[in-house]
């Protein structure tokens, strides 16, 4: 990971890093990623990936309506709202 990649990923992560933070993270993460290289020593060509250890599959719920939150509860933690809507900076699409 180099500085440019760090900036690219910080942007993907919606994180703004200050200069000092960038330097610190780069140093720390480079160390971590060098360590991660370890796994490349293993031949995994024929190995199937594990994404979850539960052997369950086909878990469904039935299509039955469950009461929703009240408007008030839905909005109770909103930083900015107007009783009916969440409010955000203008989005032009």
């Amino acid at each position: 990971m180099d500085k440019q990649q760090l900036e690219y990923v910080a942007n993907l992560s919606r994180l703004h890093l200050g200069n000092d933070e960038e330097d610190l993270f780069l140093e720390q993460l480079q160390k971590v990623f060098i360590y991660m290289e370890k796994i490349n020593a293993l031949d995994t060509d024929k190995v199937i990936a594990t994404y979850n250890t539960t052997d369950a599959n086909n878990v469904f719920r039935e299509d039955v309506v469950i009461p929703s939150l009240s408007e008030e509860k839905a909005l109770q933690n909103a930083p900015i709202q107007n009783k009916h809507f969440f409010k955000v900076q203008q989005v032009l699409d």
């Binding site: 809507f85 969440f86 900076q89 203008q90 989005v91 699409d93």
Partner: protein, 478 residues
């Protein structure tokens, strides 16, 4: 320079389940903002998704109806991007193991056999809705999450579409297939059916494709067509002037009938897809596959062919009849009782559909059931009542749900076709109108119409005009 057009369409269809894809919130359209939300669809900390069985089955049914290969194991992936209407800032979708792949749609077009292949069909969740306040200087937007989490089927076509007409036929064929399998309301104005187009041009005879431009914000079939036409024009102009087409996404402005650049492909998003760890894979068992396959009715293209071949209907008529599965069923039902498909087709297209349209009702709520309609048609074809009388009987039947013969009797609309009954009247009229009779004899053919009119007056419209005509001609000749 001449260009070939290459179009791909991406379709999003909201499935009409009672609840959302991953939670039990109602998916009803048009409720008060933020009243159909819960911890799951608001992406509150700690909430987890659980898949709606019906939504999954609907998606499977669609993939089958669209001739897809069905993966026997399918799983869901997270697609990451930040947008205020996307609560988790990732969408649960499919990327690595789509439900259906390599499908196709045969377009319903007159005199042409066109197949558009489909890259994949997959299930995902819808986002919420952003609303922009009316004041022009407002610097904020509102977010309503009622729509967030409604099940969406995405159908991705390959770039096989080569003209605006094919694009239109694709949209219409797809829409009627979705309608037939009854998985969506398919209402573009409510956003339950949405299209995105990607368009590129290539020089005729050259294999290499030009850069692809995606168009978003298309709210009707018409705007899809208009935006494609606009884009073909725009790209041809640029290329003819020696310019270059960039990969980009453009936003269609329906009011001004033009599109504007939204973002270039270089800024395109890195979605960071990975398998959704909060859901488990779905293994599609043979029994489920069989059940869903069995639930698919005869699809529009098959019906069209059957109507044209078995009933000798024109493409035009058959195509109208198959647009709506319930109309097509209605027609099929009518043909069981009465073997005059052309007459039935005319009645449905001219009278039934007009009535339904004018009164904004569905065929399911239509008072005249197939058997009743065919009885009415029979009365006309057998000459029992006149065509004019039949139309008024039709209106009465539609209003009251009463059988045709009851109304005919009530109103005394039975035609007089009995020549014995009519003979003295016809004779009287001939006697009373010697001059007209002479004119007719001298070759003024339409003079007979006057005589028919007189007879109709005398019989209060009950005389069978066909019979009267014949009698007049015979008696005048004598």
């Amino acid at each position: 320079m001449e260009f070939d057009v290459v179009i791909g369409l991406e379709t999003h269809v909201e499935l009409h389940t009672d609840t959302k894809l991953f939670c039990g919130c109602s998916s009803k359209f048009g409720s008060e903002p933020n009243t159909q939300t819960c911890p799951v669809c608001l992406a509150l900390p700690g909430a987890l998704p659980v898949m709606n069985r019906i939504a999954f089955n609907y998606a499977l049914k669609a993939a089958l109806a669209l001739n897809c290969k069905i993966n026997n194991l399918t799983h869901f992936d997270r697609k990451g991007y930040y947008y205020p209407d996307l609560p988790k800032n990732f969408q649960i979708s499919q990327n690595y193991n789509n439900l259906g792949t390599d499908g196709f749609i045969d377009l319903i077009m007159e005199g042409q056999n066109k197949r558009v292949t489909l890259h994949n069909v997959h299930l995902e969740e819808d986002a919420g809705k952003l609303l922009h306040p009316e004041e022009s200087n407002a610097d904020y937007s509102f977010v309503d999450f009622n729509r967030a989490g409604i099940p969406l089927l995405e159908i991705v076509s390959n770039p096989d579409i080569q003209s605006v007409e094919e694009a239109e036929a694709y949209m219409q064929t797809l829409r009627s297939i979705l309608h037939y399998i009854n998985i969506s309301d398919c209402k573009m104005q409510e956003g339950s059916l949405r299209f995105e187009a990607s368009i590129s041009l290539k020089e005729s005879g050259v294999t290499e494709l030009g850069n692809r431009v995606e168009i978003k914000n298309l709210n009707s079939v018409r705007s899809v067509i208009k935006s494609i036409e606009y884009e073909i024009n725009r790209q041809s102009n640029v290329l003819n002037q020696g310019g270059v087409i960039h990969r980009e996404t453009r936003l269609w402005d329906d009011k001004n009938q033009k599109s504007e650049r939204m973002r270039s492909k270089e800024e395109s998003q890195d979605y960071r897809y990975f398998p959704e760890p909060d859901l488990v894979p779905v293994i599609i068992e043979k029994s489920l596959l069989g059940d869903e396959r069995a639930s698919i009715p005869e699809l529009p293209m098959c019906r069209l062919k059957r109507f044209m071949e078995n009933y000798k209907l024109s493409f035009y008529d058959a195509n109208i009849l198959i647009q709506d599965i319930f109309i097509a069923d209605y027609f099929d039902e009518c043909t069981k009782d009465y073997h005059e498909p052309k007459a039935i087709s005319n009645w449905i297209i001219n009278e039934v559909l007009r009535y339904l349209n004018e009164n904004k009702i569905n065929i399911s709520g239509f008072n005249i059931r197939p058997k009743m309609l065919t009885e009415l048609i029979k009365l006309v074809e057998d000459g029992v009542i006149s065509k004019a009388a039949a139309k008024s009987v039709f209106m009465e039947m539609a209003l009251r749900g009463t059988n045709a013969n009851v109304i005919v009797e009530e109103k005394g609309l039975v035609q007089i076709s009995n020549t014995n009954e009519l003979e003295s009247i016809v004779a009287d009229i001939i006697k009373e109108n010697e001059k007209v009779v002479t004119d007719f004899k001298n070759g003024k053919k339409n003079a007979i119409g006057f005589l028919v009119g007189k007879i109709m007056q005398k019989t209060k419209g009950k005389a069978n005009p066909k019979v009267v005509n014949e009698m007049l001609e015979n008696m005048i000749k004598q």
